[in-house]
């Protein structure tokens, strides 16, 4: 289940890419889900746990993948109990956030209204109000009732 909380909260990592650079595990990178996320969003190939092939930058280290993908990998694999700021992710990450939320209980923190319009069968629990939304339209409607950003 995907859970969304807007605004400043305790236990949230505001800039997940920095946290990722200092905490990621090699095996996270070669997991099929990370390989797919890096391919889809960064258009890059995972060569090994420590090498990525980028069409723009050439061979790069894991620390040079996009901030959005770093945040997604943390959402998928980090088990520290921290909540990651999904405002570090572009709207092209929205589908993967929803996907990770289907595979596990995932709480994300938002400081802007992320556009989930391209996510089919979108569902999330809005923690600020306690309402379960069953579509993007319901989500957008509910954000009207939430002042925190």
């Amino acid at each position: 289940m995907l859970k969304i909380i807007f605004g400043d909260i305790k236990n949230s990592v505001y800039h997940p890419p920095t946290y990722f650079d200092n905490q990621y595990e090699d095996e996270w990178i070669t997991d099929p889900m990370s390989v797919q996320m890096i391919k889809e969003i960064d258009k890059s190939e995972v060569v090994s746990a420590r090498l990525i092939d980028s069409p723009v930058l050439g061979p790069i280290s894991v620390k040079e993948i996009s901030g959005g993908v770093k945040t997604l990998i943390l959402m998928a694999f980090d088990d520290s109990g921290r909540i990651f700021n999904a405002s570090a992710c572009g709207d092209n990450c929205a589908g993967w956030i929803a996907e990770i939320g289907k595979r596990k209980d995932l709480t994300i923190n938002l400081h802007h209204v992320m556009d989930f319009s391209r996510v089919k069968n979108f569902e999330a629990l809005m923690l600020n109000t306690g309402k379960l939304v069953h579509s993007y339209a319901e989500y957008l409607e509910e954000t009207l009732c939430i002042k925190e950003r």
Binding site: H15, K43, G67, A137, L140, T143
Partner: protein, 321 residues
């Protein structure tokens, strides 16, 4: 600072090329478009100079600002273009807004947050896209594009209801003009209420009018709402005063020259947003004429048929009559 600045940032593999024309520019958009890479290149170039292997071409110094002591550094920086990455959460603080307002720098801020303390324009919210590889096949070229295009959310139809961000002269004008055309009009009493008032209106054909010069912080939510509710459209001129100036009602060649190239005239330290400058310009230029302008109360002469038609003519694609 005033003026438009062309900026090139490049190394062997990447080239960014874009123009900055106002004190506040926002870069956002999808992940993996090169926003952080741009910041990192500017950071290295500023710290290490030519020895970084990065070339920055710009009439003004381009630099980054990071870290906890930003508020000590910022007052010492003058006449520079400052790039701020999304890790810098201080950009949403009132303290940053207050320091930026007093400064003579331009700011380019990478963030997806709305930043309601900063009056940035709908026209200065950009994404980055790759325009391809040209002469040098090893180098990728990146440009900025405007995220919000007016054509996407304007409508060539007579609205059933109008919601105006403003509550002063602009609102009075649209309210009275709307009444004559059988269009209900209400004020949102400020940009932060706009989306809520629109959502409550529940009509088939609604037009929201707001000052484009400072509506930037509302655009993400407003745009998503409009995409989901095509019955709601927006008209976002720089400001109501800009419409009047553009209409030609106010004499003076200088006014039209300024409107063609406002960035050359608007000093950012005096006017945090262009909307305030246009208000000043109209008040100044209409002084002691029959169209003497006051923001607080609409001069009735603007509602005379000739004047009203001249103003409405500026509003391309919006049908009132």
């Amino acid at each position: 600072m005033k003026g438009k600045y062309h900026i090139i940032v490049q190394n062997k593999r990447l080239r960014y090329e874009f123009d900055i024309r106002r004190n506040l520019t926002i870069i956002r958009g999808d992940s993996a478009t090169g926003k952080t890479t741009l910041i990192n290149m500017l950071d290295s170039a500023f710290s290490l100079g030519e020895g970084s292997g990065i070339e920055v071409v710009c009439e003004k110094v381009c630099r980054t600002l990071r870290g906890k002591d930003w508020n000590f550094l910022l007052p010492q920086i003058h006449d520079q273009i400052i790039f701020l990455d999304e890790e810098s959460s201080f950009v949403k603080s009132k303290e940053f807004a207050a320091l930026a307002r007093k400064s003579d720098n331009y700011y380019v801020i990478i963030t997806r947050e709305d930043l309601p303390n900063l009056p940035y324009s709908v026209d200065e919210i950009y994404g980055i896209h790759t325009s391809g590889k040209y002469h040098d096949l090893r180098r990728t070229y990146n440009e900025m594009y405007r995220i919000y295009q007016a054509s996407e959310f304007s409508a060539d139809r007579k609205p059933e209801r109008i919601v105006v961000e403003d509550s002063n002269a602009g609102f009075e004008f649209f309210k009275k003009t709307g009444e004559e055309a059988g269009i209900a009009c209400e004020s949102a009493n400020g940009k932060s209420n706009l989306r809520n008032v629109i959502a409550k209106a529940a009509v088939k054909n609604l037009l929201a009018i707001a000052d484009g010069a400072a509506i930037g912080s509302e655009m993400n939510e407003l745009y998503q709402y409009m995409m989901l509710h095509p019955e709601v459209r927006c008209y976002l001129p720089e400001s109501f005063e800009w419409i009047i100036l553009k209409s030609g009602l106010i004499d003076g060649r200088i006014v039209q020259q300024i409107l063609e190239n406002p960035e050359a005239y608007i000093e950012s330290r005096e006017y945090f947003s262009w909307e305030r400058y246009f208000s000043f310009l109209l008040t100044e230029q209409s002084k002691d004429t029959y169209l003497q302008y006051s923001k607080n109360k609409l001069n009735e002469n603007y509602l005379h048929d000739k004047e009203k038609r001249a103003i409405l003519k500026v509003m391309n694609g919006i049908k009132f009559l």
